[in-house]
Symmetry: C2
Amino acid sequence: MHNHLPDIKNNFSEWYNEVIYKAQLVDHSPVRGTMVVMPYGTAIWEQIQNVLDKQIKETGHRNALFPLFIPKSFLEKEKEHVAGFSPEFAVVTHAGGKDLEEPLIVRPTSETIIHHMFSRWIKSWRDLPLKINQWCSVVRWEMRPRPFLRTTEFFWQEGHTAHATEKEALEEVDLMVLEYQKLIEGFLAIPIIMGKKTEKEKFPGAVMTKTFEGIMPDGKALQMGTSHYLSQNFAHAFDMKFQDKEGNLSYPYLTSWGVTTRLIGAMVMMHGDQKGLIIPPKIAPIQVVIIPIIKKNANEAEIMDYAKKLHQELKNQNILCHLDEDQHNTPGTKFYHWELRGVPLRIEIGAQECEKNTLTCVNRVNNEKQIISRSDAAKNIDFLLKNIQELLFSQAKKREKELLGTTKTLNDFIEIIENNRSAKTNWCGKSSCEEKLKEHKASIRCIVADAVQSNNCFVCNEKSNHEIIAARAY
Amino acid sequence: MHNHLPDIKNNFSEWYNEVIYKAQLVDHSPVRGTMVVMPYGTAIWEQIQNVLDKQIKETGHRNALFPLFIPKSFLEKEKEHVAGFSPEFAVVTHAGGKDLEEPLIVRPTSETIIHHMFSRWIKSWRDLPLKINQWCSVVRWEMRPRPFLRTTEFFWQEGHTAHATEKEALEEVDLMVLEYQKLIEGFLAIPIIMGKKTEKEKFPGAVMTKTFEGIMPDGKALQMGTSHYLSQNFAHAFDMKFQDKEGNLSYPYLTSWGVTTRLIGAMVMMHGDQKGLIIPPKIAPIQVVIIPIIKKNANEAEIMDYAKKLHQELKNQNILCHLDEDQHNTPGTKFYHWELRGVPLRIEIGAQECEKNTLTCVNRVNNEKQIISRSDAAKNIDFLLKNIQELLFSQAKKREKELLGTTKTLNDFIEIIENNRSAKTNWCGKSSCEEKLKEHKASIRCIVADAVQSNNCFVCNEKSNHEIIAARAY
């Protein structure tokens, strides 16, 4: 009854492709490129939503709901924007029994329709800042889909804000990067590298894109979300004007930012092991699983009673706790089942625990066993969960260090990526040097610092103004 | 500074069409038939979602996420289903730069794709019952859209369940009607009439549809949600089979049920008055608004301090409370502003309140003023909010009685509906009698009892087996 996952060290990609199905996060969808997010995967997404939605609201944003369909002409109003997204459009040409006069695009992102509404809502400086967020799904036709990482339809939140000054807009871009950092490092236990995208890699229509990347265990970088400074581009395109305090008409400065169900993929890759998922306690839909162990001649009623009382007590203390009462499976099968699903803490209850008034706790990360006293259970378990959360983050942080090499030359860089790592290095800023990386299926993931560097560009060996992360990427 | 809404008594329809925009629940969308749900409207929907999602989970259902697109062939597998929905399809014919081999329908409802997945997930009686819910938007091309009541895209939850026996499935259909009743009567303060749809009016593909209708102030009925017994129809269509306890292959019995953003429209109509919305306290995103009243020579700092402390205290006690600190508007303008938006309780704080350590509370429903002590504020305000909630429901219940006539003849019935009321009456069960109502733009909204009736059919005067509600409807 082993979980039989592909070898995580040598077949990381296959391991990922199997674990997400076996742990029942997703299932195969009959619609090419899309995914069915199963109840367990949906529960994880809801946990992420709860945390982030609170952060978004506490920083002064309000949720709203915009149409799923965007008139094609709207998307064409900003040239770079339409050029970036049009190859991925899904197009409704027919509705209500008729051909449509103007095709409707299923939203790939909602800047254009939201900015249309902003131009109705923003008249005076008193209407600013306008800070809106939407939870929804978006559609971008993908040629090589992978669940969570890259799918034709995915779930996300998209924030859209308008400000009276450039300074305020830039502060908003940074504010949201910090909020995302709180979510991703603080709850998902994934260390992030923050930086700017290059001109080539930035969001179509943006002036500047901030990104946060994670180095996955196979050394590839994963973009986990972005925060864009749009300046006044879209404001001009959508004739969005306001009367400032002096009575002059101005165009507002815009931002947009988002994270997606990709975060679930990041979490799977970052913490999983040969036995399956490991879900960080702060995001786990089930933080604790209680497994009664009833051997021959044991007092089953007593054990079940002990387990049920604990279950109720932990639930009352807001610990997300599941009691596995299944009568058909052995404890061993149950262990595998919940290990595969990444429940961070297992509590075993047998005759001995009942007798001694203890609980046997097993940590999913390192399989460490701890026997704790039954009294003060919630407090002690809370403490164990906090430790697991910290252990996951420090373990991930340690691996990030190991996986992030430094290099001064392209040859070194190639060796680094061939060895399944990423690199911190220096870049002159020329796109010809950036293009060079393509030959090795790599790219500049982000610019972490803009200043004269002591080392030269790792490609052309000329003066460098940028410290960058270069890597292969998801 | 009056709100200037159309006369609610004589122009109910215009009143509705204006109040939803003026109170900023929705805005005009550039996409025909769709709506932009503004932050205030979205906050109300989120309140509804929070209540219902909890109920859905507590009754053993789990959320999942299914694709937005459904292959056309899936929808064609159940004949009545496709016949019912196909005139309203929005069709994606082109994606990723190519024409699609098989057109994709933007989901009008998800039975077909979810049942496809159920056929993968259900193998044995141990997989049953399977109880799934999805929160999403769906698309049905509407010719005469009205925000919340009938739009091309709307937001909803759709529950889908599979059971081993007919009995269990029928129990599920009834269970969810009761859960909806708790939501709609208990939180939205809207009295409902529960019953069965006629063969003509039931859900396409269902064997039986239970409905809950509300009688709106203009005497028209509004269907507020439905719970369908699908029997084994879709199970056959999707080859969904399980091995029962005896080892035989059986088809499961299915249900589906849903409520939509239409509930917001129902709430607007049911409780609104000439000044605007009235939101029931249990669903209001803002339950209490605090308005400082600073007259000439008043100690502004003292009043603001008093208001801020109250605001913080109420927030700490989980009362959803807003302090209107705006410096530009007069108190009178603020009163109109929050009355329009239906905040159920207003607290005025001026020099007198500070001096006497009191709060002046004004009830949105009947404009009653009450001066309460500042100490124990949260407890007292909670009490006032409970009273408002009860007042709204009893007021609505009283009006329902007035609006629901009884009749024994078609002529009487016509008079009733011409006078903007609905009728409880008796029906023989023949579709020819049901058809007759069409001539008067009315229909059978629901069958409230199936038994031999003492009165005959109000159309043909033959023996009646059904007590029904007949009305004009939204």
